[in-house]
Point group: C2
Chain length 278, copies 2
């Protein structure tokens, strides 16, 4: 139920203490910030509003808009509770605050409570589940795309080993179009322990690799399926591949294999289709 | 047939006239350069060697390597003719030459001759063909990914309207893992004229859209199929969609539609499969 129209507080001075949380967020984004995160752009702002209302540990703390974006965002702003402050600034002030100009005039600060660990997350999955498991993903673009695809194709949880990068970074959240804020995930431990946990929970685990044994079109339906993808460069190590089912995506020979996020998208589409999830 | 080992010419001075072509290539990359292009990274360098040997209008002019990359690239260098000069520099000199540090220590300058126009390209397609047609693609990442996917799934040509960005830019070439150098393409005219040309050549044209009528799994095999994708934000305009078959990719409701390059990858995989091309 949308609330009344919001009237942003005008900020004239980049050093105004009310917007201190937004100052130089680009650099701070690189350092990890105690459960806080940055949302950029209209689509992510809308997802933040949805996550905030859902009340599952994600909350908006403040919103900062470029003056000329306010009118077009009235409906999105109305989706936030009235106690979330909304600030507005002209371009010169806005850029002086944020320290960069990649924000599209729409920024929010959010907070995420400590999330359940991987065991708790797995224990809470429904009897019929689809999981995306990712190991050694180091690129925030790929991480964001994995989340976006996982959400699109009905994945219940995204599980990562500890060597994967943090999906709560600004760029990953943006590329995920906000799915990082709504899709349950956990990131801990080794690839081997991740596989062990999934197997113990009754998952059929399919490792994706150009050398996989089964065409992805041949992955059978199962109550619980986990699709496993590896690092951008090397893919999944042999020790992992030898411990799970393996699947490949047909493509023309003699070319570099598909990007990991693309491969995951195609395979998820296939597995979600065969399991009637989309 | 690989040639003899290459011995790079050491460059000690960033102003050495022999490597003038590499100076500040980042800025020049933004300006369009008379058929010249920049190849970055090992994978693209290998594709450049293949394109050079194929002799279809793409040639390497010079290669510049970071000292510590030489040993690992001996096999790739041997794939270039002996008259393509190879230079090497230490990191300090290399960065001073190139003006940025995103090159992974592997750069090449290439030249592309004027390519056949769209009509000539279409006229030369085989009786059984798969074409990817793209309109209004403005992001070089997406453009590169479209090429990478098109190559992986056996597309014969990638056709773009004039409003799409130039795939010969450094970043698009890199993201395409060099497929821009080997996959035939043309970029000219309007979306409407592109469709008209494909239709006149007997193509079944399928526009991809979240509102498409047919599930992509229902696109029937055909001797000549063209998959059509639109801009990142708005997708294909209604005037275009009403003039072609339309297809959609099933996904969970209530989310942003898939990224254009991801959607094209999934649909190409499907169409290439049903037509026995992969």
């Amino acid at each position: 139920m949308p609330g009344p129209p919001r009237h942003p507080v005008r900020i004239e001075d980049p050093s105004d203490p009310r917007i201190a949380g937004f100052v130089s967020i680009r650099e701070r984004d690189l350092t990890g910030r105690q459960g806080r995160f940055i949302a950029e752009g209209t689509v992510v702002l809308r997802m933040l509003a949805a996550a905030h209302r859902a009340g599952r540990g994600v909350a908006a703390e403040a919103i900062l808009l470029l003056e000329n974006r306010i009118a077009g965002l009235a409906d999105v702003l109305a989706e936030f509770p009235a106690d979330v402050p909304v600030f507005a600034a002209e371009a010169r002030v806005f850029d002086a605050i944020a320290g960069f100009n990649m924000h599209r005039g729409v920024l929010a600060l959010g907070r995420r409570d400590a999330m359940p660990g991987m065991d708790t997350l797995i224990a809470g999955l429904p009897a019929s589940s689809l999981v995306l498991a990712a190991c050694g993903i180091s690129n925030h673009d790929n991480m964001g795309t994995l989340f976006r695809n996982a959400a699109a194709f009905g994945v219940d949880a995204l599980l990562m080993d500890a060597s994967s990068c943090d999906p709560m970074y600004r760029k990953a959240i943006r590329v995920s179009v906000g799915s990082v804020l709504t899709l349950p995930f956990a990131r801990e431990g080794t690839a081997a322990s991740l596989i062990e946990r999934l197997r113990a929970a009754g998952f059929e685990i399919w490792g994706l690799s150009p050398s996989g044994e089964t065409d992805i079109a041949g992955i059978p339906p199962a109550p619980r399926t986990a699709l496993l993808v590896g690092t951008e460069g090397e893919g999944l190590p042999e020790a992992i591949l030898s411990s799970v089912h393996t699947a490949r995506i047909r493509q023309r020979p003699g070319l570099d294999s598909l990007n990991v996020a693309m491969a995951a998208g195609i395979a998820l589409y296939q597995v979600a289709s065969v399991n009637g999830r989309i």
